[in-house]
Amino acid sequence: MIAPAAEQPFALFVPDPDLALLREKLALARLPDELDGAGWDYGVPLADVRRLVARWRDGFDWRAAEEAINRDLPQFTRDVEVEGFGTLNVHYVHRRSARENAVPLLFVHGWPGSFLEVRKLLPLLTADVPDQPSFHVVALSLPGFGFSEAPKKGGFVHKQYGELANKLMISLGYDAYVVQGGDWGHYIAGSLATYYAHTHVKGWLSNYPHAQPPKLSKSPWLWLTDLVTPYSEREKEGWARTKEFRARGSGYSHEQATQPQTVGYSLGDSPVGLLGWIYEKLVRWTNGYRWEDDEVLEWVSVYWFSRAGPAASVRIYLEMTNRFERRAVDGIEWTSIPLGFSLFAKELNQVPRKWLRTLGNVVFESEHEHGGHFAAHEEPEALASDIRRMFGKGGPGFGVVPGKDGYV
């Protein structure tokens, strides 16, 4: 039996032929027309795509982006075994704080996110500033995303993501740790809590407040109080946003949860198709964030050049919802470890607060007037502040990791 590969430093380097292929495809781009005055009504505006494609073809410097990524994000790979799935080579960012007793924190991205989302948080969390907790940060590329291998067969769900992430942390010497995640990171953090609360996972903070309504059978008191307590204005607004998102913003998730391979062909073969598909979310899901073209292109390039290809990344929707037969959130069980929520103004799924308590022991809720779905990227200071307030001195999650309270 081949011993699993130990940690290898990873330097992102896309082979020249892959760069050449992208350029050739962009040179042959065939764009559709657009209805007069379409704006964003029908999807991504043509002018945006046209401009971005032109930039991607001539102007955007991937090698420079690579260099900066490698400089800003210390990356590694190692093999992690997952029961029933063999060994997966996992790509991750790992930066330790100068403070030995910093709190180990696992950051988990979602779709169409990536490990890059930790970039702005990293210096903030690992900083060694007096009277402020510090963190050792690990940000993995989920299997099938970024530069992690993808599972080869179906059925990779909550339990497997949990197992993989937990084994990764333990292999890095973090027997106990906390988790922060949004989008799929929310569900995976919740899965980690479900399977490893107390034993390894000591607390989690989510910026994606999605939960199901309390059930009379499971949490009668919560059910009752939810029934009789009026919702706040913010909750009502949030719920309206949620319904709008479900009715008119979730076509991509229907397709990805039922026919991921079908849509995967265009995502894998057309950089223009991939750009349109992802860029729509980058703009619609953020809150007034000013994307630079090169920023967008770097983000989409990571998907284009990903190890398993873009098609692999969308399978998570089918697996975690069992082909849309259940909600991904149903895979999360209530645990008593501290659970916190960072609530950004324009997040997509905003359920009434009481519903969040079905997911765990909610001890921290932080409301923000700004920000959207990609909180770590849009509002890194705010999110870092929430992480510090939850796990720092005086916070409800202070000292949850034995011997690593974040201070000197």
Binding site: K25, P32, A38, K153, G154, S266, G268, G273
Partner: protein, 404 residues
């Protein structure tokens, strides 16, 4: 004599477009696939790989073009209120029977005008005591070789306007109609605007309507809960459709431009998007690779491009804010329905009474969504029985009973 903008149409894709397709196929980048995926995750990789290879080396588009050009095709300008002039492409095959029944055949998505190909000879044939038809098969605006509307809001009323004007311009003051998929939904619109006056009877092979509510049709809502085979099938198909079949629909109806980028730029992407439906919506139809590739090529080489064809979902549903029958109401124009077992949705038969005055019903044991293509003889036979002597819609078009 009034001038006409009708021009004979010869399909001739420019060499530059053929070259571009070829280059793209040569640079194709296919994804991997999970072990034993089969059809569980979408169109299987081995099918797409094989089809792409064939499309690249082997499939002869010129041969297809030559065959397609054997159909009598034309274009003409149709003025649509508020949308200016659209140049519309259509097949127009007259029967040798002078008093043949004028019939408008309307396709859907991912269909096109060529779906009429197999059923055309049966309908225009002269055969004893069976009626004959003059057939017009239109390319919907934004599909095939018809121009697409340039602005938003092109919906039921506008499609009806185009259809009616086309038939009138061809000299058919009165006519009948056959459609499936969008052809069915749009049928409800045409019949609402021009029923009785121009559209005398219609037939559909996709028996679909909005679900009855306890308020609107109490008795019909109960039917779904009866312990009958038909009710069981109806509920099963509806559930399956809602859960697993609706991804493309939701994307089309909310973000047609977004999905349009991949469909315009990637032949493999367009191929898989459509091929998945050709297979899963038909009833074990033995598609040949070249048949599939010809079908997809029509989309790839379409006048307005593949992205334009998707917009119908958005326009007809107000961006997924209402159903496709919005703006219609039941009419008493005679309606015929053919039930094919492989169709996506098979509601209880009583539902069609909500749509119109059902005078003809036919049930088959084989055939799916693309009925005219898959089961041309069965469909033609249904139309003959509906419109022929002794049939429930015999003689609806004055002076054009289908016989000389």
């Amino acid at each position: 004599m009034a001038t006409t903008t009708e021009r004979p149409f010869t399909l001739s894709v420019p060499p530059a477009e053929l070259e571009l397709l070829q280059k793209k196929l040569e640079l194709v980048r296919l994804p991997d696939e999970l072990e034993n995926a089969g059809w569980d995750y979408g169109a299987p990789l081995s099918d797409i790989r094989r089809l792409v290879a064939r499309w690249r080396d082997g499939f002869d588009w010129h041969k297809s073009e030559t065959e397609i050009n054997k159909l009598p095709m034309f274009t003409r300008d149709i003025d649509v209120d508020g949308f200016g002039t659209l140049n519309i492409h259509y097949v127009h095959q007259k029967s040798a029977v002078k008093n043949a029944i004028p019939l408008l055949f309307v396709h859907g998505w991912p269909g096109h005008f060529l779906e009429v190909k197999n059923v055309l000879p049966h309908l225009t044939a002269i055969s004893g005591d069976r009626p004959s038809f003059h057939v017009v098969a239109i390319s919907l605006p934004g599909f095939g070789f018809s121009e697409a509307p340039k602005k938003s809001g092109f919906a039921g009323r506008q499609y009806a306007n185009v259809f009616n004007k086309l038939m009138l311009s061809l000299g058919y003051e009165e006519y009948v109609y056959q459609g499936g998929d969008w052809g069915h939904m749009l049928g409800a619109h045409v019949v609402y605007h021009y029923g009785h006056k121009h559209l005398k009877a219609w037939h559909s092979n996709m028996p679909f309507y909005r679900r009855p509510t306890l308020f609107s049709n109490p008795l019909l809502t109960l039917e779904e809960h009866l312990p009958t085979q038909a009710a069981r099938v109806a509920v099963e198909k509806l559930t399956h459709w809602r859960q697993k079949g609706i991804g493309y629909y939701t994307e089309h109806a909310t973000k047609p431009q977004t999905i349009g980028y991949g469909l315009s730029d990637s032949p493999a992407g367009l191929l898989s998007w459509i091929y998945e439906k050709l297979v899963s919506w038909s009833d074990q139809y033995p598609w040949t690779d070249d048949e599939v590739l010809e079908w997809i090529s029509i989309y790839w080489f379409s006048r307005a491009g593949p992205a334009a064809s998707i917009r119908i979902y958005y326009e007809m549903t107000g961006g997924n804010t209402h159903d496709t029958f919005e703006g219609t109401a039941r009419t008493t124009v005679p309606l015929g329905i053919s039930y094919f077992p492989g169709e996506l949705l098979l509601p209880p038969k009583s539902w069609m009474q909500m749509v119109g005055k059902v005078v003809f019903e036919s049930e088959h044991d084989k055939g799916g969504h693309f009925a005219a293509y898959e089961q041309p003889e069965k469909l033609a036979d249904d139309l003959r029985r509906m419109f022929g002597r002794g049939g429930p819609a015999f003689g609806v078009v004055h002076g054009h009973e289908g016989y000389d």
